[in-house]
C-alpha cells in the first residue's frame, strides 16, 4: 500500500475560487463555502474590533478607582455590549463560521457543505442579527449584562433590551444552521475512504460543537423570546412581582450558555490539534481519546449549567450535583491537554507563528481551565463568584484559549485561504506581544478577584487600584498586539509572497489542492487511503526524502 500514488499535486492553475467569477453580486450570492467563510471572516473581524474598543473603554475607566471617565450608566452599557458582541457575534461564530466553513468540506474531500444555500442564508441571518444589535447599540444601548438576568432586564432596565434580544434570537438561527450543515456534511459527504477515524480532529471537534449548537441554541432562542415578550406584555413568567420565578430564567439561560462556552472552545481545541500535530510532524498521541473527549465535552457540558448559580437560591443539593459534574467535565479537557503535550515527545517542532499560538493556547487554557475548578468547587465559588476572579477565568479561556487558537488557525490556513503568505517575522513578534499583553492584563485580575473586587463595578475601593493599573497597562499592550496581525494580514493580501499549494509540507487533504483552491475544491474527488496526520512512514521518507502530497506531478 503506497498512499502516495493516489495523489498528485494539482496542476498550477490560475483559476481559483477567488477569481473564478467577479463582481459584488458573485460574492453576495455565492454558494461556495469558501467565499462564505471569507464573508464571515470580514464581518466577524468587524465585530471583534467593536468589542475590542469596548474592552479598551472598560480598561480605561478602571484605571482609577473613581468613576471619572464614563458615567456609570455608560459603563454598564459598555461592558454589556462588550460581552454581547464578543460572545454572540464574535467568539461563537468565529472559528466554526470561518475556518470550519472553509475547511470542513476540504478536509473530508467534499465539494461543498451539504446545504450551500443554507450556508449563505446563515451568513445573512448573522448579518441581520448583527445589524439589529448594532441598531440597539446606536439607539441607546443595553445595560443588562450579557446574562440578561431578570427581573432587572424585564422590568427595571430602560435600555434597548428587546431589540438586543431580538438580535441574539436571530443570530441564534445562524448558529443552528451552521451546526446543522456541519453535522449533515460530516455524515453524508465524506470522500471515499474517509472513515470517521481518518478525519482530522478539527472535524471531530466541529462535529461536537455542532451538537451543542443544535441542542442548546434553541433554548436560548426561546428564553430571550420569552424575555422580550415579558418585557413588552408585562406578564411575569420570570418576574416575582407577577408570580414568576427569576431563577427559572437563570436555569434556561445557562442551559444554553454553559454549553455555549464549549461552542467557543471546542473549535479552538480542534485547531490546536491540527497545529500541534502538523507543526511537530507527528500523529496526535491518542487520536481516538482526543476525538471522543470532544464528544464527551459536548455531552457532559450539558449537565453542569447550575454551577453559575451556586449563590442563588438554587437548592444546595442541586448545587452539589452540578459541582460534581463540573469536575467531571474537566477530565476530557485534561485528556486533551495531556495528549497534545505527549504528541510533542520525540517530534520535530518548528517555531512558525501558528505553533507559537498553539503553545500559548495550551499554557493559557490550562490556567483558565484550572481556575474554572476554583469556581466549580462550591466553597471557593461562594467567595469568588461575581468577582474579577471569574472575569480572569473566562478571559484566560476565551482570549488566551479560543482567541489564540483562532489567530493560530488563521495564520496556518492563511496561505490556503488567500494564496499569500503572511510575513513570518512579524507574525512571531505579534504572537509574543499578544502573549505578554494578555498575561499582564488578566493575571492581576485573579488576585483582584480573590481579595474581593466585584465585577461589573464602575468605581471601586482604592486598594484594588494596583491590579487595575497593571491590567490596563496590559490591555494597551494587548490592543497593540492585536493590531499587528490585523495590519499585516491586510498587507499580505496584496503584497504577500505567493503561497505554494502546500507551504507547510503537510499530508492533510486541504493541502492537496492548489492555493487558493478551485471552486469545487478538488479537480477530482479524492480517494483517501491514509490516516490523519500520517506523514510518510520513516522508511519511505528516508528513501524519498519527501512527504505525501509533495511528490512531483510526473513521478
Amino acid at each position: 500500500m503506497k498512499p502516495i500514488e493516489s495523489f498528485e499535486l494539482p496542476s498550477p492553475s490560475k483559476v481559483n475560487y477567488l477569481n473564478a467569477v467577479y463582481g459584488l453580486k458573485s460574492w453576495l450570492l455565492t454558494k461556495d463555502h469558501k467565499r462564505i467563510a471569507l464573508l464571515y471572516l470580514g464581518s466577524i473581524t468587524f465585530f471583534f474590533f467593536i468589542g475590542g474598543i469596548y474592552a479598551l473603554m472598560i480598561r480605561l475607566e478602571l484605571l482609577t478607582p473613581s468613576g471619572d471617565f464614563l458615567e456609570s450608566t455608560t459603563y454598564n452599557k459598555v461592558f454589556t455590549q462588550h460581552g454581547i458582541i464578543m460572545i454572540f457575534f464574535f467568539l461563537i461564530p468565529s472559528i466554526p463560521a470561518t475556518l470550519g466553513n472553509f475547511l470542513i468540506p476540504m478536509m473530508i474531500g467534499a465539494k461543498d457543505l451539504a446545504f450551500p444555500r443554507i450556508n449563505l442564508l446563515s451568513w445573512y441571518v448573522y448579518l441581520a442579527g448583527g445589524i439589529i444589535t448594532i441598531y440597539a447599540l446606536l439607539a441607546g444601548g443595553v445595560d443588562t449584562g450579557w446574562t440578561f438576568y431578570t427581573p432587572f432586564s424585564t422590568t427595571f432596565s430602560n435600555s434597548y433590551v428587546v431589540a438586543t434580544g431580538l438580535g441574539i434570537f436571530i443570530n441564534g438561527f445562524s448558529s443552528i444552521l451552521t451546526g446543522l450543515n456541519f453535522i449533515v456534511t460530516i455524515h453524508t459527504m465524506r470522500a471515499p475512504g474517509m472513515t470517521w477515524f481518518r478525519m482530522p480532529l478539527f472535524c471531530w471537534s466541529h462535529y461536537a460543537t455542532s451538537l451543542i449548537m443544535i441542542l442548546g441554541t434553541p433554548v436560548i432562542a426561546i428564553t430571550v423570546l420569552l424575555l422580550a415578550f415579558e418585557r413588552v406584555s408585562g406578564v411575569g413568567i420570570f418576574n416575582p412581582k407577577l408570580g414568576g420565578d427569576p431563577v427559572l430564567f437563570q436555569h434556561m439561560f445557562w442551559f444554553y450558555s454553559h454549553p455555549a462556552v464549549y461552542i467557543m472552545v471546542l473549535p479552538g481545541m480542534g485547531v490546536i490539534s491540527e497545529l500541534i500535530a502538523n507543526f511537530s510532524r507527528k500523529n496526535i498521541f491518542g487520536y481516538s481519546f482526543v476525538a471522543f473527549s470532544s464528544i464527551a465535552i459536548a455531552v457532559f457540558g450539558f449537565l453542569v449549567w447550575g454551577h453559575h448559580m451556586f449563590v442563588t437560591p438554587q437548592s444546595v443539593y442541586a448545587g452539589m450535583i452540578f459541582s460534581f459534574l463540573s469536575f467531571a467535565v474537566a477530565i476530557p479537557s485534561a485528556i486533551k491537554v495531556f495528549n497534545w503535550t505527549a504528541t510533542l515527545y520525540k517530534s520535530s517542532i518548528s517555531y512558525d507563528t501558528p505553533m507559537l499560538y498553539a503553545l500559548g493556547f495550551i499554557g493559557l487554557f490550562t490556567i483558565g481551565g484550572m481556575t474554572g475548578l476554583f469556581l466549580a468547587s462550591l466553597a471557593t465559588d461562594v467567595h469568588l463568584s461575581d468577582t474579577y476572579f471569574v472575569v480572569a477565568h473566562f478571559h484566560y479561556i476565551m482570549v488566551g484559549g479560543a482567541l489564540m487558537a483562532y489567530l493560530g488557525g488563521l495564520h496556518y490556513w492563511w496561505p490556503k485561504m488567500t494564496g499569500r503568505m503572511y510575513p513570518e517575522g512579524w507574525g512571531r513578534f505579534g504572537a509574543l506581544v499578544v502573549f505578554v499583553g494578555f498575561n499582564l492584563t488578566f493575571l492581576p485580575q485573579f488576585i483582584a478577584g480573590y481579595i474581593g473586587m466585584p465585577r461589573r463595578y464602575h468605581a471601586y475601593p482604592p486598594e484594588f487600584q494596583v491590579y487595575n493599573v497593571l491590567s490596563t497597562a496590559g490591555a494597551s499592550i494587548l490592543g497593540f498586539g492585536m493590531l499587528i496581525p490585523a495590519v499585516y494580514f491586510v498587507w499580505s493580501m496584496r503584497y504577500g509572497k505567493h503561497a505554494e499549494a502546500n507551504p507547510w509540507h503537510l499530508p492533510g487533504l486541504e493541502w492537496r489542492t492548489q492555493s487558493p483552491p478551485p471552486t469545487e475544491n478538488f479537480e477530482q474527488t479524492p480517494i483517501v487511503t491514509w490516516d490523519a496526520y500520517e506523514f510518510a512512514p520513516p522508511e519511505e521518507t528516508e528513501v524519498v526524502g519527501k512527504f505525501h502530497g509533495e511528490v512531483e506531478r510526473a513521478s
Binding site: 468613576g67 456609570s72 454598564n76 445595560d143 443588562t144 449584562g145 427581573p151 412581582k241 408570580g243 427569576p246 510532524r281 507527528k282 500523529n283 498521541f285 487520536y287 451556586f310 442563588t312 448545587g319 469536575f327 467531571a328 474537566a330 477530565i331 485534561a334 485528556i335 495531556f338 495528549n339 505527549a342 520525540k346 520535530s348 517542532i349 517555531y351 503553545l359 495550551i362 499554557g363 490550562t366 490556567i367 484550572m370 481556575t371 475548578l373 476554583f374 468547587s377 462550591l378 466553597a379 471557593t380 465559588d381 461562594v382 467567595h383 461575581d386 468577582t387 481579595i451 474581593g452 466585584p454 461589573r456 475601593p461 486598594e463 506523514f535 520513516p538 521518507t541 519527501k546 512527504f547
Partner: protein
C-alpha cells in the same frame, strides 16, 4: 484599609480560613499542573526542535496505560476538590443555632437592615465578634447579592423570596460590604461596611440605638391592623385559620399531601400566596396580602409569627430569636451556649 498591596483578603470570619485553605490547595494544584505542562512543553520544544527541513519523526501509537493514568489521576484530584469544597459549603449553609437574626432588604441601590432588637441601619451592619449572625434577606426590586469578602461569603438577595446566610465574625474591624450581583445603574455604589465589634461595644451600640420597635412588635401591630387576628386568633391561637403559635420550625402537613418545614420562606409564601400550600384541614379562604404589605412589613409579620412559641410544642423550641426577649440589650448579652465574653 491596608497600606501594603494586598494579595489575600482580610480574614475575619470563622470559616474564612477554611475557604482559604481550600483556595491554597487549589492554587497549589493549579501551579503544579501549569508548571508541569508548560515545563514539559518548553522542554520538548527545545529538545525536539526541527533540525533538518525534511526530517520526519517516527509516528507513535497511543498508549492506553498512559491515557488511563492521566484520566484517573486528575479525576481523583478533582474529587478531592469536590468533596472538600462541598463539605465546607455545607457547613456554610447549614443554618446555625442561636444566631442573632438580622433582616436585610436590598433595593436599588442600598441595603436596609434591621436587627431583631429593632435597630435599623442603612448600608452598615454592626455585629459582635464571636456570635453567629444569621441574615434573612429579600429584595424589593431586582436581584442583589450580599458579599463580605472578609467573611468569604455571599448570597443572592432575590425579590419574591427569602434567602439566608450566616457568619461568625472573629476579628473586630470594618469590612467591605459589596453588592455582587449586577443590579443596574448604581450597582458599584451599593456598597457599605460591616462593623465587627467586641461584644461589650456592641451592647453599647445596641443600647445607644434603640428607638424603633422590634420587628416582632411591629409585626404584632400589623397582625392586628391587617385583620389576621380575625381568623388566626388575637395572639395566634387559631380559629378559622390554623394556630400560628409554635408553628415556626415545625413540619406542616399540607392538604395536597406531603409536608413542608415552616421556615421564614414558607411563612412569607403563606401570607403572599396562601393558596400555594394549603394547610391540611383548612379551605382556601385566606386572602392574599400581596401588594398590601411591603417587604419590610412582611418581615415584621414573619418575625412576629416566629416569636410566638407555644407552650406545648413537641418539636424542639425554634431558634430562640432575640426578638422574643423584652430587653434588647439583655437578649444579646446572654447568648445561650458558652457566651464569649472576653
Amino acid at each position: 484599609m491596608q497600606s501594603w498591596i494586598p494579595i489575600v483578603p482580610e480574614s475575619a470570619s470563622s470559616f474564612s480560613w477554611k475557604v482559604d485553605a481550600l483556595y491554597f490547595y487549589l492554587s497549589g494544584v493549579t501551579l503544579f499542573f501549569t508548571l508541569l505542562i508548560s515545563g514539559t512543553l518548553i522542554f520538548f520544544v527545545i529538545r525536539y526542535r526541527r533540525r533538518t527541513p525534511y526530517e520526519i519523526p517516527r509516528p507513535v501509537a497511543g498508549s492506553h496505560k498512559l491515557e488511563t493514568v492521566w484520566t484517573v489521576i486528575p479525576f481523583v484530584i478533582a474529587m478531592t476538590m469536590f468533596v472538600w469544597g462541598a463539605s465546607v459549603f455545607f457547613d456554610q449553609y447549614k443554618p446555625p443555632q442561636n444566631a442573632i437574626e438580622v433582616y436585610v432588604v436590598g433595593k436599588q441601590w442600598m441595603w436596609k437592615l434591621q436587627h431583631a432588637t429593632g435597630q435599623r441601619e442603612i448600608n452598615e451592619l454592626h455585629v459582635p465578634v464571636g456570635r453567629k449572625v444569621r441574615l434573612i434577606m429579600t429584595s424589593e426590586d431586582v436581584i442583589h447579592d450580599f458579599f463580605v469578602p472578609a467573611f468569604r461569603t455571599k448570597a443572592d438577595v432575590v425579590p419574591g423570596r427569602y434567602t439566608t446566610m450566616w457568619f461568625e465574625a472573629t476579628k473586630p474591624g470594618t469590612y467591605h460590604l459589596f453588592c455582587a450581583e449586577y443590579c443596574g445603574m448604581n450597582h458599584s455604589g451599593m456598597i457599605g461596611s460591616v462593623i465587627v465589634m467586641e461584644p461589650r461595644d456592641f451592647d453599647n451600640w445596641l443600647s445607644g440605638n434603640v428607638g424603633s420597635m422590634t420587628p416582632a412588635t411591629a409585626g404584632q401591630q400589623l397582625y392586628q391592623t391587617l385583620g389576621c387576628a380575625s381568623c388566626h386568633g388575637g395572639s395566634g391561637e387559631g380559629g378559622r385559620g390554623p394556630a400560628l403559635t409554635g408553628t415556626f420550625g415545625t413540619q406542616i402537613s399540607l392538604a395536597s399531601g406531603g409536608t413542608v418545614t415552616a421556615d421564614e420562606g414558607y411563612l412569607r409564601e403563606s401570607i403572599i400566596n396562601p393558596q400555594a400550600k394549603l394547610v391540611a384541614g383548612f379551605g382556601p379562604i385566606m386572602p392574599t396580602f400581596q401588594g398590601q404589605v411591603s417587604e419590610d412589613q412582611l418581615m415584621q409579620l414573619v418575625a412576629y409569627i416566629k416569636s410566638l412559641h407555644g407552650a406545648g410544642t413537641t418539636t424542639p423550641a425554634p431558634t430562640p430569636s432575640a426578638a422574643a426577649s423584652p430587653s434588647p440589650a439583655r437578649a444579646v448579652a446572654s447568648p445561650a451556649p458558652a457566651p464569649s465574653i472576653r
